[in-house]
C-alpha cells in the first residue's frame, strides 16, 4: 500500500484511486454547491413570505393613524415596529422619494436613492420617464461587508376612498399610489444557519470522499495490486529459472484466471524443460554407448590386425628358420653316416637331430597359432554382432556408396562363442560383396531362424548385386589361397577362414550365384536346442 502511493505512476490502483477521488471531489463540489444554493433560495422564499407579512402588518398598524392624520402616531408606530432585533429600519416615503416617517428619525425629510430598488423596482429609468417595468420587483437583498444580509421590502400604499374622502383632504382622488412602505430586515440568523449548514455539508463531503477513497484503496489493493505483485514476483522467479514456484492466487476472477494460466504455462514449461533435459541425458548415454561400441569394434579390429601381423611374422620367421634347420638336420645325418651306429658320436648327433625336430615342431605350432584366432567363449548375439559390424562398416570409406538393406528377425540368436570370430566371418562377407560390386550398390543382410533335420539353425544371408561367381569356381571357393581378386588384393584366405570358423561351430556356408546378377552367401549356424 505504501509503494502504491509513493510511486503512483507505477501503480494501477493508485491511479484508479486518484482518478475516482478527483471525480468524487468534483461531483461532491457540484452537489455541495447546488444544495447550498437551493437551501439559500428556500430560506429566502420563507424570509420573503415573512417579510411581506410584516409589511402588511405594518400597513395595518399605521392605517388608522394615517386616516386620522396623526403623523406623530404614525411615527410612533414605526418606531415601535422598528425595535425588534430583526428589523433594521422602516420608512415611509412618497412617490417623489421624500421620506416622511422612519424608525430612524434622522432620515426623515431626506430622499431615497433613485437608483435603489425603491424606484428601480417598478420604473425602467426613474430619472427620465415614468415608464413601468412589466414585472415590478418589490424586494432586494443587500450584503455589505462586515454586516449581516439585509432584506429590503417595498410595498406601495394605494389610494382608496377613505383616503381621498378623509377630513384632512390630504390626497386628491386622481392619485393611484400615495406612497411606499420600506422595511429593512436583517437576515443575520439565516446567514448563520446557512453558514452552519455549509460547514456541515463540507464536512460530510470530505468524510465521504475520504471514506470512499480508503475503501476503494483497500479493495483495489486486495483485488489488483496484491495479485499483480504476486504475479510479477512469480514471473521474476520463473524468469530466474525457478520453475517450481506457483503463484498462490485462488480467486475466480480474471486475476485468478491469469494466475492459473500462468501456473499451467509454467508447468508446461517445466515439463518441456525436464523432457529436454531427459533427452539430452538419453542422447549423452546413447552417444557414450555408441562410442563404446565403436571403440570395442575398433579394438577388435586392431586385435584382429595384430593377430594377422603376428601370423605373418610367425610365418616369415618359420620360413626363415626352416632353411638353416634343414641344413642342420642334413649335415647331422651326413656326419652320422661316418660313425658306427652305437658310437657316442652317433648318439650325440641323434640329440642334434632330435632337438632340430623339436625346433621344427615349435615352428609348426607357431604357424598353427598364427592361423587360428584365440577365442574367448561367451554368449554372443548374432544380430548384435551383425548390427555392430554394419555400424562400423558404414563409417568406412570403402562402404560410403553402399546401401544396406537390413532385415533382422526379431530374435537375438544367442550362440556360445567368440564375437570377434563371428565378426571376422561377417567382415569377410561384406568385403567380398563390396569388391564384387566395385564399391557401389545394395547389400541385403538378413537373419532368420530355420529348421534343419529338426534342429534349430540361424541363417545369415549376405546378398550383393555384384558380378557373380562363375560355376567352375564354386567348388574351389573355400579353398585356401583361392582368389579371383587381382594379385596383391586378395589373399584367398577370407572365405577359407570363414569356412573354418563356421565349421568349428557345426555350421556351413551355402552359396547361390548368378553371373552378372549377384551372389548370396548363407551362413548357417546351429542354435542351442532350448532356444527356438
Amino acid at each position: 500500500m505504501k509503494n502504491m502511493f509513493s510511486h503512483p505512476e507505477k501503480s494501477i490502483a493508485a491511479k484508479l484511486i486518484i482518478a475516482i477521488g478527483l471525480l468524487m471531489i468534483v461531483v461532491s463540489f457540484v452537489f455541495w454547491y447546488a444544495t447550498l444554493k437551493k437551501q439559500e433560495k428556500d430560506i429566502m422564499t420563507i424570509a420573503l413570505k415573512y417579510g411581506i407579512s410584516f409589511i402588511d402588518f405594518t400597513k395595518q398598524s399605521f392605517r388608522r393613524s394615517m386616516l386620522a392624520f396623526g403623523p406623530e402616531e404614525t411615527q410612533n408606530v414605526l418606531e415601535n415596529l422598528g425595535t425588534p432585533e430583526g428589523v433594521k429600519k422602516i420608512r415611509i416615503y412618497n412617490h417623489k422619494g421624500r421620506v416622511f416617517f422612519s424608525s430612524y428619525k434622522e432620515s426623515i425629510g431626506k430622499s431615497v436613492d433613485k437608483n435603489s430598488v425603491a424606484c428601480m423596482g417598478c420604473h425602467v429609468d426613474p430619472e427620465k420617464s415614468p415608464a413601468l417595468l412589466q414585472n415590478p420587483k418589490k424586494w432586494s437583498v443587500n450584503k455589505n461587508k462586515g454586516e449581516s444580509t439585509t432584506l429590503k421590502l417595498i410595498d406601495s400604499i394605494p389610494n382608496e376612498p377613505a383616503c381621498y374622502t378623509a377630513s384632512c383632504h390630504a390626497h386628491p382622488k386622481e392619485l393611484k399610489i400615495l406612497g411606499f412602505v420600506e422595511a429593512d430586515l436583517s437576515l443575520a440568523l439565516l446567514d448563520e444557519a446557512l453558514f452552519k449548514q455549509a460547514l456541515a455539508l463540507t464536512a460530510y463531503v470530505i468524510i465521504f470522499v475520504l471514506a470512499v477513497s480508503l475503501f476503494l484503496g483497500i479493495i483495489l489493493y486486495k483485488i489488483v495490486s496484491k495479485p499483480v505483485n504476486e504475479l510479477v514476483y512469480g514471473m521474476q522467479k520463473v524468469a530466474g529459472g525457478d520453475l517450481d514456484y506457483s503463484v498462490p492466487i485462488t480467486s475466480v476472477d480474471e486475476m485468478g484466471v491469469l494466475a492459473r494460466t500462468f501456473n499451467s504455462m509454467k508447468k508446461d514449461l517445466k515439463a518441456a524443460r525436464d523432457q529436454r533435459e531427459q533427452w539430452t541425458q538419453t542422447l549423452e548415454t546413447e552417444i557414450a554407448k555408441k562410442t563404446e561400441e565403436i571403440r570395442k569394434t575398433h579394438a577388435s579390429l586392431v586385435q584382429t590386425e595384430k593377430l594377422a601381423s603376428l601370423g605373418r611374422m610367425a610365418a616369415g620367421v618359420a620360413h626363415e628358420i626352416n632353411n638353416p634347420l634343414t641344413g642342420v638336420v642334413t649335415f647331422a645325418h651326413l656326419l652320422k653316416k661316418k660313425f658306427q651306429p652305437d658310437s657316442p658320436e652317433t648318439q650325440d648327433l641323434d640329440i642334434i637331430i632330435e632337438q632340430s625336430e623339436r625346433c621344427s615342431k615349435i615352428i609348426k605350432n607357431l604357424l598353427t597359432f598364427a592361423r587360428a584366432t584365440p577365442s574367448e567363449k561367451g554368449n554372443v548375439s548374432i544380430n548384435d554382432v551383425l548390427s555392430r559390424t554394419i555400424f562400423m562398416l558404414r563409417n568406412q570409406e570403402k562402404f560410403h556408396h553402399i546401401k544396406f538393406n537390413i532385415n533382422l528377425e526379431d530374435s537375438r540368436f544367442i550362440i556360445a562363442g567368440d564375437s570377434s570370430q563371428f565378426q571376422q566371418i561377417f567382415l569377410n562377407m561384406f568385403i567380398n560383396a563390396v569388391d564384387a560390386m566395385g564399391g557401389r550398390g545394395n547389400i541385403t543382410v538378413a537373419t532368420r531362424s530355420i529348421k534343419e533335420n529338426g534342429k534349430p539353425y540361424v541363417e545369415i544371408e549376405f546378398t550383393d548385386e555384384g558380378s557373380g561367381i562363375e560355376k567352375k569356381y564354386l567348388p574351389k571357393l573355400f579353398e585356401p589361397f583361392f582368389t579371383t581378386k587381382p594379385v596383391g588384393k586378395g589373399t584367398g584366405l577370407g572365405l577359407s577362414v570363414s569356412h573354418g570358423i563356421v565349421k568349428h561351430f557345426g555350421g556351413y556356408i551355402k552359396v547361390k550365384s548368378e553371373v552378372g546378377k549377384g551372389t548370396s552367401f548363407f551362413v548357417r549356424l546351429p542354435l542351442p536346442e532350448k532356444q527356438s
Binding site: H319, N322, N323, T326, G327, T330, H333, S356, L367, P480
Partner: protein, 131 residues
C-alpha cells in the same frame, strides 16, 4: 646318370640337397634363383627339379608353370616352408609330382627322389602325371 636341378635362393638348402643326393649317385646342379634355373634347363635336360615355393625374383609356382609348359617330361618336386596341405594341393594341381616340407631329413629327400624315378620307370618313361 639321373640329373637333378635344385632351385632355391637358400645356399644351405642347395648344399644340403647336393650333399645328400650326390652320394646316392645323382648328378646334382643348383641354381640360386628361378631365372637361373630356367637358364640351366635351357642348356641341358634334367630328369628332376627340386623347386622352392617361395623365392624373391620368380615365384616357385611361376617356375613350375614354365617348366610344365616348356619341359613337360621333367618332374618337379616342390620344397615348401609352409606346412599346409593346401599349398601342396595347389602345387600338385599345377603339375608338381610331389612336395617335401622344410625342414626335411636326408632320408625324406632321398625317398622322395627315389619315388619319382621308380614311378617314372614303372610308367615306362612316360613323363609326369596326367594333366
Amino acid at each position: 646318370m639321373k640329373k637333378i636341378l635344385v632351385i632355391d635362393d637358400e645356399p644351405i638348402i642347395r648344399t644340403s640337397c647336393e650333399r645328400t643326393l650326390a652320394p646316392e649317385g645323382y648328378e646334382v646342379k643348383s641354381a640360386d634363383s628361378g631365372k637361373k634355373g630356367i637358364e640351366f634347363l635351357e642348356k641341358e635336360p634334367f630328369s628332376l627339379v627340386l623347386l622352392d615355393l617361395k623365392m624373391p625374383d620368380m615365384d616357385g609356382i611361376e617356375v613350375l608353370n614354365k617348366i610344365k609348359v616348356t619341359w613337360p617330361e621333367t618332374k618337379v618336386v616342390m620344397i615348401t616352408g609352409y606346412s599346409t596341405v593346401d599349398t601342396a594341393v595347389q602345387a600338385l594341381r599345377l603339375g608338381a609330382y610331389n612336395f617335401i616340407e622344410k625342414p626335411f631329413t636326408p632320408d625324406t629327400l632321398i625317398s622322395a627322389v627315389k619315388e619319382v624315378f621308380e614311378k617314372s620307370n614303372q610308367d615306362t618313361g612316360d613323363p609326369g602325371p596326367a594333366e
